[in-house]
């Protein structure tokens, strides 16, 4: 039996410390989940993934009135004859 060395996967990370932004250069679920828990263990900071909802909550300067309106939006209906 021979030992086969593991092949590591390397991903770039950028931490924009001043603006509290982290950029992880992969979309692989296992890698992102591992990174999240590793980052939390290392720095006691929980990274929050940016997607539509979290972008509104964390990146916007919307008033609470605007946020309420956004949270009550429904998907656009664009087929001919329907407008919403």
């Amino acid at each position: 039996m021979h030992k086969v060395p593991a092949i590591p996967n390397l991903y770039d990370i950028l931490w924009d410390y001043e603006n509290k932004n982290l950029y992880l250069y992969t979309t692989q679920k296992t890698a992102t989940e591992f990174f999240e828990s590793f980052f939390l263990k290392s720095f006691h900071l929980k990274p929050l993934k940016l997607f539509p909802y979290t972008a509104v909550e964390t990146k916007s300067l919307f008033s609470s009135h605007q946020k309420d309106k956004i949270m009550n939006l429904t998907p656009l209906k664009l087929q001919c004859g329907i407008s919403k």
């Binding site: 979309t27 909802y53 972008a55 990146k59 605007q66 309106k69 956004i70 429904t74 656009l76």
Partner: protein, 177 residues
């Protein structure tokens, strides 16, 4: 804040609507720079792929994928007419002279295949730090455009102008096909 998993599913349509709106902006030659109040000259074009989805009934959905450098978008526009929305799109964004290419997914804002503009800094060992900083700077620039444009979309979406003007214009555009 809502539970993250619930919020992800509940509001993923905002990302898809956003990508559909970007397609509208591109096709109608809207001035991206003025929308996001940027001093840079910003243009966006559709790259080599676009994916649309259309819900059929409660559980089924059809998926329309168009790929290719010179691909026509007729199937996509027909799908739009039937109520489909964009879920993933490959975009070419120019900020002044710099060209960025990437694919963005609406529900997660995942960006894949990001190609940054070429820089003059070589990959020489003593230039590595400059190269990393330059790439970081360029990455931040494109991410800022994407994020700002999304927030502008939402600002418009909840404004009075949306129903009276923007939505009508989008519908007119779709009906033109």
């Amino acid at each position: 804040m809502l539970d993250i998993a619930i919020a992800y599913n509940k509001y993923k349509f905002l990302g898809n609507d956003y990508l559909t709106w970007i397609w509208f902006l591109i096709e109608n030659n809207r001035n991206i720079s003025s929308i996001i109040n940027s001093k840079d000259v910003i243009t966006i074009e559709i790259g080599n792929s676009i994916v649309l989805e259309n819900k059929i009934g409660d559980k089924s959905k059809e998926k329309i994928t168009i790929k290719g450098d010179q691909a026509g978008l007729e199937e996509g526009t027909t799908a739009l007419k039937k109520g489909a929305f964009v879920t993933k799109i490959n975009l070419i964004c120019k900020i002044n002279e710099d060209e960025y290419k990437f694919t963005i997914k609406g529900e997660s804002f995942n960006i894949t295949g990001l190609k940054l503009p070429k820089t003059n800094i070589s990959g020489h060992e003593d230039k590595i730090e400059s190269m990393v900083l330059e790439n970081a700077f360029l990455s931040f620039k494109i991410f800022e455009v994407i994020d700002t444009l999304f927030l502008k979309f939402l600002e418009k979406r909840v404004s009075d102008e949306w129903k009276n003007k923007e939505l009508q214009e989008i519908k007119t555009w779709i009906e033109m096909f």
